[in-house]
C-alpha cells in the first residue's frame, strides 16, 4: 500500500494525459493526504445519503440501501475500487448533512440536495454536476378536474414547513393572479391525512418527493392512480452531489463518474453490452470511455483511478438511463420529455467530450 502511495505521489506530477500501455488497470494516481488517498487507505467509500425517500435514497425491506442517489454512490465505489460494494452508506438528516461532510465523516454527500448559490458560497463545500433536475410541483386528485395551476383559483394548497416551497408557491401564484389558501403542516402524516380527507385540493413539494408520496399513497384512499402531478413546475431544484471544496481533484472524479455515466448513455453503452463493446469498440469514443487501447495506446483520464474505471462503473451499476429507469421511472416520473432527458432528446443531460 505504501509503495502504491509512493508511486502515486511520484507520478501525480507527470503529464495528465500520459499514455499508458498497461492493460485494464493502470497504476492508480493519488496525491498523499488527498481525499482519494484517504478513501483508498480506508478501503471503503463513505457516502452520506437519505434513508427515507423512496426512489432516491431509502432502505429496502431486506435492510440494504437503494435508490437513485445510492446508485451514484455505488458508481463512485466501482470507479475507485473496481467494486461497487466497497461503499458504506451513512444516513444523514436534512439539517446534519452539511456538517457531516465538512467534518469529514463522509467523503461525498448524495442526498437530494438542491444546488443553490448561498449553499455553494457559504458552506465551504462545492457542488458536482446535477444528477437530477427537480422542481416544485403540485399534486391533485384526478377526480377533481384540475388540469393546471389556473384551475386552482381559490383552492387550499397544503405544503410542509421547512422548505422553500412556500416562497416559490407565493411568487408563482402571485404572478398569475391566482388566489389560494396556504395550509402549512410540520409533519407529512398529518398533511397526508388532511389531503385524504379533502381538506386541501392540492399538495405541493418537489416533484420527486410528490412522486414518492404518490407511489406510497394508501390504497384505502384510492391508491397512486387517484392522484395526478400537474405538468407545471414552480421552481428550479437541481439535485447534485456535494464534496468539500479543499480538494478539486476529488470533485473532478465525482463529476466525471456522473458525466461518464451520461456519456455511456449517449453512446449506447449499457451494463448488458459493455463487455461486448469493450471487446470490439464501435468507435474511438467508446474505446476511450471503456479504457480500451486505440492503436496501441490507452487513453488516461488522469483522475487518479484506473484508466478503465468507467467499464467497472457501467458493468456494475449501469449508465445514467439504466439508473434512472431502475429507480425513478417506477415512481411515475418518465424520463422522456423532462429536463432529465438527454440533450439529444431535448433534455438538459449533457456530457462534455470524454477525451
Amino acid at each position: 500500500m505504501s509503495l502504491a502511495l509512493l508511486l502515486a505521489a511520484c507520478s501525480s506530477d507527470g503529464p495528465a494525459a500520459a499514455p499508458s500501455t498497461g492493460g485494464a488497470s493502470a497504476a492508480p494516481v493519488a496525491t498523499e493526504g488527498s481525499t482519494l488517498a484517504i478513501v483508498r487507505q480506508r478501503g471503503v467509500l463513505r457516502v452520506g445519503v437519505n434513508d427515507q425517500l423512496p426512489g432516491f435514497g431509502y432502505i429496502r425491506p431486506d435492510g440494504a440501501f437503494a435508490g437513485f442517489d445510492i446508485d451514484f454512490g455505488r458508481a463512485l465505489g466501482a470507479a475507485i475500487f473496481g467494486d461497487a460494494t466497497k461503499v458504506q452508506f451513512v444516513s444523514v438528516s436534512a439539517s446534519s448533512r452539511f456538517g457531516a461532510l465538512s467534518a469529514g465523516e463522509i467523503d461525498v454527500l448524495i442526498r437530494n440536495t438542491t444546488w443553490s448559490l448561498s449553499r455553494d458560497s457559504s458552506l465551504r463545500l462545492t457542488f458536482a454536476v446535477p444528477t437530477f433536475y427537480d422542481g416544485q410541483g403540485v399534486m391533485v386528485r384526478a377526480s377533481d378536474g384540475i388540469n393546471s395551476l389556473d384551475d386552482l383559483d381559490g383552492a387550499v394548497v397544503c405544503a410542509l414547513t421547512g422548505t422553500t416551497t412556500q416562497l416559490n408557491q407565493e411568487d408563482r401564484f402571485a404572478g398569475t393572479g391566482v388566489r389560494y389558501q396556504p395550509l402549512v403542516f410540520d409533519r407529512n402524516e398529518t398533511l397526508q391525512e388532511a389531503f385524504i380527507a379533502g381538506r386541501c385540493d392540492a399538495w405541493t413539494s418537489d416533484k420527486s418527493q410528490l412522486a414518492a408520496r404518490r407511489a406510497a399513497f394508501p390504497v384505502r384512499a384510492g391508491g397512486p392512480q387517484s392522484l395526478v402531478i400537474l405538468p407545471d413546475t414552480l421552481s428550479k431544484e437541481p439535485l447534485a452531489p456535494l464534496v468539500r471544496d479543499d480538494d478539486p481533484a476529488w470533485a473532478d472524479l465525482v463529476n466525471w463518474v456522473v458525466l461518464g455515466m451520461l456519456a455511456a448513455d449517449e453512446l449506447g453503452v449499457t451494463s448488458t453490452n459493455v463487455e461486448q463493446m469493450a471487446e470490439s469498440p464501435p468507435s474511438q469514443e467508446v474505446a476511450r470511455l471503456l479504457g480500451v487501447p486505440v492503436q496501441g495506446t490507452v487513453f488516461n483520464p488522469g483522475l487518479g483511478v484506473a484508466t478503465d474505471f468507467m467499464r467497472a462503473v457501467i458493468r456494475q451499476v449501469g449508465n445514467y438511463d439504466e439508473v434512472y429507469q431502475r429507480n425513478v421511472a417506477p415512481l411515475g416520473i418518465p424520463r422522456a420529455g423532462t429536463l432529465n432527458a438527454s440533450w439529444l432528446d431535448g433534455g438538459l443531460m449533457y456530457a462534455p467530450p470524454y477525451r
Binding site: 383559483d153 381559490g154 383552492a155 387550499v156 397544503c158 414547513t161 421547512g162 422548505t163 422553500t164 412556500q166 416562497l167 408557491q169 407565493e170 411568487d171 402571485a174 389558501q181 396556504p182 395550509l183 402549512v184 403542516f185 410540520d186 409533519r187 398529518t190 398533511l191 391525512e193 388532511a194 380527507a197 379533502g198 381538506r199 385540493d201
Partner: protein, 386 residues
C-alpha cells in the same frame, strides 16, 4: 491569623455574603455566556423582519396580510391567532371546567363518576396526540365541501370550514355601534342603581328586567332609526370554499376544542378544590335559610370559591397560551407556525426564537395583569366582608 480565618469562615454573615456574591457572579457569568454565544451564532439584528414576507397566512383574525407585507405584519397575524385561540379557548375551558368541577362534587353517582373519568382520562394524556386526534379523527372527518352538512339551511359544515351566518356591517354600522355601546352603558348604570336601591331598601325593583328592556329599546330603536346598518350574511357554497358569513377553519375548530377540553379538565380540578375550600358551614347555613341547591351554589358557595379560583385560573390561562404552540402540528397559523416559516425563509433561527419567546413572555405578562387585577379586588372585598 489562622484562627482569625477560621473564625471568619464560620461566621454566618460572612458565609451568607460569600454565597450571595458567588451566586450573583455565576448568574452574571452565565447570562454573559448566553449572550456571547447568541452573538457568535447570529447578529441579533431585527432588520430581516422588515423584509417582504413572501408567504401569506391562510386563516386570519382581525388582520388582513398577504405575502407582499413585511415579515413583521405576517408575524403579527400569527400573534393575533395565538390571542384568538387563548381567549376563546379559556372561555370554553372555564365553562367546561365549571360544569365538570361541579358535577364532580355532585351527589349524583353517575354525574360524579363521569366527571372523574373525564378529568383523569385527560390529565393523564399528553397534549400533542390529543390535539392531532381531535383534528384528524373528528374535525377532518366532516364531509367534503361537495357534501356539506346544512346547518338549518343558514350555515354549512364540512372539513373545508364551518360557515355560519354573520352580521355584515354596512355604511353607518360604526356610528350605530357607538350608539349601542352608549345604550349598554346607560342600561348598566340603571342596573347598578336599581340593584343598590333594592339591596338598601329591600324594595323589589327588578334591576335585570328594567335594564334589559331599556337596552333593547335604545339599541333596537336606534338600529331601525339608522336604517338597519347590519345585513344578515348567509354563506354560499362555492367550488373550493364558502363565500360570505363567518368561517371557522377546521384547524381553528380542532385546536379550540382540543385545548378547551384539555384545559377544562384542569379547570375542573381548580373549581373542585375551590368549592371544597369554602367551609361546609356556609352551605349548611344557606340550606337552613331555605335556599335551593342551585341557590346555595350560585349565591353562597361559588362567589366565595371564586376568590380561591382566580390565581390558579390565571396560571391555567397562561398555560393555555403556551400550550397553543402545538398549533403547528395541525397547520393552524399561530405565532410559532408563522415564526417557523420566517426562520426557514430567512435563516435567522436564533434571533427569531428570541423574538418568539419574548412574545410569549409579553402575552403571559398581559394575561397576569388582566386576570390578577380583579383578583386583588375580590380579595380586598372578601376581607372587608369577613
Amino acid at each position: 491569623m489562622l484562627t482569625d480565618a477560621r473564625r471568619l469562615s464560620r461566621d454566618v454573615r460572612v458565609r451568607r455574603a460569600t454565597l450571595e456574591a458567588l451566586t450573583v457572579a455565576l448568574t452574571v457569568a452565565f447570562v454573559f455566556y448566553l449572550v456571547h454565544q447568541a452573538r457568535q451564532a447570529s447578529s441579533l439584528d431585527l432588520g430581516f423582519l422588515s423584509d417582504r414576507a413572501g408567504f401569506g397566512v391562510g386563516d386570519q383574525f382581525l388582520t388582513n396580510v398577504s405575502g407582499n407585507d413585511s415579515r413583521w405584519a405576517v408575524y403579527f397575524a400569527g400573534i393575533m391567532n395565538t390571542i384568538r385561540i387563548t381567549v376563546f379557548g379559556m372561555i370554553l375551558a372555564v365553562i367546561i371546567g365549571l360544569v365538570v368541577g361541579i358535577a364532580r362534587l355532585s351527589s349524583n353517582w353517575l354525574a360524579s363518576r363521569l366527571a372523574l373519568l373525564f378529568v383523569e382520562a385527560i390529565r393523564n394524556t399528553p397534549l400533542l396526540p390529543f390535539v392531532v386526534f381531535w383534528y384528524t379523527a373528528l374535525v377532518l372527518q366532516l364531509p367534503h365541501i361537495r357534501d356539506s352538512l346544512s346547518l338549518f339551511g343558514v350555515g354549512y359544515a364540512s372539513n373545508r370550514a364551518i360557515a355560519l351566518p354573520w352580521a355584515r356591517p354596512l355604511d353607518g354600522a360604526g356610528t350605530w355601534a357607538v350608539v349601542a355601546l352608549g345604550a349598554f352603558a346607560v342600561a348598566a348604570g340603571v342596573w347598578m342603581f336599581l340593584h343598590r336601591y333594592e339591596a338598601s331598601t329591600g324594595q323589589p325593583s327588578r334591576p335585570w328586567r328594567v335594564s334589559l328592556a331599556l337596552l333593547a329599546v335604545l339599541a333596537g330603536g336606534s338600529y331601525v332609526a339608522m336604517g338597519m346598518p347590519l345585513r344578515w350574511d348567509t354563506p354560499q357554497v362555492e367550488r373550493f370554499s364558502y363565500a360570505g358569513g363567518l368561517q371557522l377553519s377546521p384547524e381553528f375548530v380542532g385546536l379550540l376544542l382540543a385545548l378547551s377540553f384539555f384545559n377544562g379538565a384542569f379547570v375542573a380540578e381548580i373549581v373542585r378544590g375551590a368549592i371544597q375550600s369554602v367551609p361546609k358551614g356556609e352551605r349548611e347555613a344557606a340550606a337552613a335559610l331555605g335556599l335551593s341547591g342551585w341557590q346555595q351554589m350560585s349565591l353562597v358557595v361559588l362567589p366565595q370559591a371564586l376568590r380561591a379560583m382566580l390565581p390558579p385560573l390565571a396560571t391555567q390561562c397562561q398555560a393555555l397560551a403556551k400550550y397553543s404552540a402545538v398549533a403547528i402540528a395541525i397547520a393552524f397559523p399561530d405565532l410559532m407556525t408563522v415564526g417557523g416559516t420566517i426562520i426557514n425563509n430567512s435563516g435567522e433561527a436564533i434571533t427569531m426564537f428570541i423574538v418568539m419567546m419574548l412574545t410569549y413572555l409579553l402575552l403571559n405578562l398581559l394575561i397576569a395583569l388582566l386576570l390578577n387585577g380583579p383578583q386583588w379586588r375580590f380579595q380586598r372585598g372578601g376581607k372587608r366582608r369577613i
